[in-house]
Symmetry: D2
Subunit: 341 residues, 4 copies
């Protein structure tokens, strides 16, 4: 069975293992107050061109999302998100668990736009009973989205602009951020993200780390006392250096982008194979997730040798599926898949 189910099916890139082994016997302080974390923070601040950014490491994305959102919102405020946003679909109510509503908005491809945000804002404040309604106070977007699509720099600038004008915080879930950075699209880079958002995270788990997400908070107001919040939510790793070490490795020698680039190249081969064979795609994804719409009998046949995700029933005969490549997907696996199409 060849797995195209996810980008976190394997362990970690060798250079990460190497660093863990090399430093294993050292004694360091816990809770991410060690030199490796400090160095990783420095690297990230430099890559983001944001010398005063507050950088925090988490083990996973849900923990990152819930801790940041709970920290930045007041109790009666909610966060605007696409109906397909990860916090709304696959986090078992982790945001609501901290007392906040997700104010969902429709989208066809995972992306929301500045106008939608403006409308939600206007609708709230123009309603004379707005004190009876959850106050929108933050925008959550995923880059790339859960549909593999990517916000362009100009789209992010529009969103950032409407947020700033309306005093909404902007937060970007970067669980797969790497793949947007190498996509063949004019996407925001790290400096753009640090400039345009109040916070975003650089996902490690889905790009070759054992685990780890690096949250970058540009807005100093929401960064205050943030480590208390991490501990309160159970997210402070005792041997925090493991997180620093991994990000040092990923962000050195351009490794992070190389890993992403490999995955996206393999994904483009898959995309090309399906479209050449005449199949349509559910989303126009330039990243490592591809969503061909396939006949059900073909899906059955492919499922004998390949693991992938059934995404959405389209009609009586066709279903959209998801193939996901990773930093370590062997070319030969993709070759085999292409031959089977």
């Amino acid at each position: 069975m060849i797995r195209f189910e996810s980008d976190y099916s394997e362990g970690a890139h060798q250079s990460i293992l190497d660093r863990l082994i090399a430093t294993n016997n050292e004694q360091t302080s816990g809770y991410s107050e060690d030199k490796y974390c400090e160095n990783a923070r420095k690297i990230i601040r430099s890559l983001c061109n944001k010398p005063d950014a507050s950088v925090h490491f988490f083990v996973g994305g849900t923990q990152t999302n819930l801790t940041f959102i709970a920290s930045a919102l007041k109790p009666y405020q909610g966060v605007i998100a696409a109906i397909s946003g990860h916090i709304n679909t696959h986090e078992t109510g982790a945001i609501e668990a901290t007392g906040h509503r997700i104010i969902t908005t429709e989208c066809s491809d995972g992306k929301i736009n500045a106008q939608q945000i403006e409308n939600i804002w206007q609708e709230h404040w123009q309603d004379p009973t707005h004190e009876h309604i959850v106050q929108p106070a933050m925008v959550y977007i995923s880059q790339p989205t859960e549909c593999g699509t990517v916000y362009t720099l100009s789209e992010l600038e529009s969103i950032s602009s409407v947020c700033k004008r309306n005093n909404l915080l902007l937060y970007v879930d970067g669980a797969r951020l790497s793949y947007s950075l190498v996509a063949d699209v004019l996407a925001p880079d790290l400096t753009d993200l640090a400039r345009l958002c109040d916070a975003f995270y650089i996902g490690g788990t889905k790009t070759g780390a054992l685990f780890g997400e690096a949250l970058v908070i540009s807005n100093p107001e929401v960064a205050r006392d943030f480590r208390y919040m991490i501990k309160r939510q159970g997210g402070l790793l005792a041997k925090g250096r493991l997180l620093g070490l991994q990000f040092e490795a990923l962000l050195s020698d351009n490794l992070y982008l190389q890993l992403a680039d490999h995955a996206v190249k393999q994904a483009m081969r898959i995309r090309q194979a399906f479209t050449s064979a005449g199949y349509e795609l559910l989303f126009d994804s330039p990243t490592n997730q591809q969503f061909p719409i396939l006949p059900d009998e073909m899906i059955e046949r492919l499922a004998d040798n390949f693991a992938f995700h059934r995404w959405q029933k389209m009609n009586a005969r066709f279903t959209a599926v998801r193939f996901c490549t990773s930093w370590t997907t062997p070319s030969e696996h993709v070759d085999q898949l292409i031959r089977s199409i």
Copy 2:
């Protein structure tokens, strides 16, 4: 600087690293639904002689505590704990964050007893206004305690008995459980814990894992739908197999106890050195944490070469400090300390 600050200053035991490396390229399902986790669960159930126990893996102790406690209590219920209990002292309100009060009770050495629990229970139910008061519904104890002391089997049996009689859940925080298992005390073993408690966890982080705690839920009622809770609280690790792999390694070939035994032996040497030199101990700890009461000038002198924790000012001239050994503390480090005493 030689560090006796904590038992989580280093990485992991070599056999754990070896397993991570050996399995690194395998593709497995995420979220602890892989074969390694399944096997680790089997080993734990067998060691606990509890074939139907529900076993779940967490990255850290605070996450384990808050998830279990929030899962088992009804909203208006609280958890009884020693005033020195970890949930009350060093988790930044993680339990309250889930809506529950910690009902604290005094103790001199980290241990509470059956009578204290019975009293809290009686006091609640005899108060005619008890509906206006948080209802005690669970007992939290740490084994060993934060003071290094250990509940004996007979003490745990008494506590368990008062809990069962009064319909209180009993939960044991085993962040350092290994050290109680090898202590020179008639302490409960894993089968006792599984038999006497509703849940307890086997700590990995502080006994040679990179990270990891294995929660064992004996009571099937509180185990229901528990994975939803882990996800909701942000504690479900994507590459969950990392947890399974580590517990497989720790719990094979008696490694877990060997690592603990090493630490306790070194701690006993430290204890012996201090008591021989005429110093008193704040707590009578048979485990890897030792709490000598030292003159302040001696503390200053030791601090030049050794890192340790200042625990409690005793009077104008003396302070109790904590020396903590670990699975990997070199004998020579202890030799050096002993020479300096």
Copy 3:
């Protein structure tokens, strides 16, 4: 200015004031443990033909909703509701504040149906990743709905049946319950509600009480320790007898239905006037709220003398508005309105 804005613009029915005055100097126990509350509970149990129902009094509807829902759900569970449901629109996130998601479903007239509930249930349990998704565990409906529409007995039976089959709790928000009981529709009566739902409340505030909602819990499992929950959420009224006294008054001599009947009769006159004049209605409401779709210039004109609610812009020229009658709406006010149409 004649107000058709709401059914809680005035004080209370005279018989309620009379009882408050008559009993004012008596000394009673607090917190609804007095004889008046006990008697009101008896009356309600008898009207519901549910001798073992647990009956609790609240000051307002949001408090009732949040306390019941938070009490009955486990932390990772959510409540299914129409997107127009009061808990989703006008309670400032009170349900999320207790840690729970509202799982919304579309509807055109405030009502959801058994099939929609079944679909949500099926979708959840058929999703292999359901542990990553909020678990649907309760259905919330309003009777009548926020659109004035009414669930018929047979509709409620279908909903109840799908809930029971799927182990979903069924809860009915009865803020305006009285108006459904007198509507010209085969609606469930109190005995039906007590038989088909796990809990519902009989709204007093919007039918002539100063304030007060009576929650009837039929399901003994969710009634356990419920008074702790009321106190925890800040909903236990010190002089609780005020609630008992008001429900005694409302539920004696058929007063509750008489008050509702007056309001609905006046609403039907308004409805008739608008439809006779050729205006359409946004919702087909048989209760005290009427939603004519009117030309904007007519709305401007009416607004000079009448207060009412602008509900929804329909197109460039027409807007749906809401006229709400109450237990005390003077016939002459309706006469004036009719003359102005």
Copy 4:
């Protein structure tokens, strides 16, 4: 049975009933946006000499406490309170329900002092692991305390001063505030409270209202968007004018102080009778609660004719009890009690 159990056993002062009746048929806006609430706010601001204070009305004290505390604290912050403070003893965990710890401190008579607060603050910030500990951010005191004792103006000034210096909010629970205002002690008056605290409330329920507490927020930062919070916590009364009307009545013509004065005068008669007869008092209370320490056989005898609260077993033969007078306690009831002593 003559009741000295509480000061909320009866209904309301006649002038309050009169106002309710006089205004019963008027139509007003809901949710405390009516002219009566507006006028009551004006009166309160004037009495407090704080023209820009934000004033909000609640039905009860627990609701007031939880809403204010949850609104003003950040998630990882806690509130310092006497171990005997109402939020810690008789609110069923309402504060923890909003995610916050109560940081308790010992006291013998319900009062805490500036030094205790300073110590908690110092201990927190001097602890190098403070990020692992709930951050103290507010001080909660009750005036008078649950023991009937009263903070003097100079004590409150000291507390306020330590709070301001350490950036702690100061909040005063005034459930029985009236009784402190008339006590024979140099207690802070309303202008002092508004000047020295960030917020306090003027209790109505226990001084002759049917219900109602008026929260006065002096600190504009914590007042922002506060009505959202009230609604979120279920505390916004539909017919909010009922609250305004009652405070208008209480605060006109000095009625509030007159009612309190009557209660305190009766309490002083009780106190005098017990001390003259040689009994000691548990607390030196100058307010409407008196705590004589009585022989158990005397308690049994008194209990035949009088209802009062058994407060605390002192030893094998003596128990402290509580007698509570109210705005409407008949002199003859006190006469009878005195004769029975």
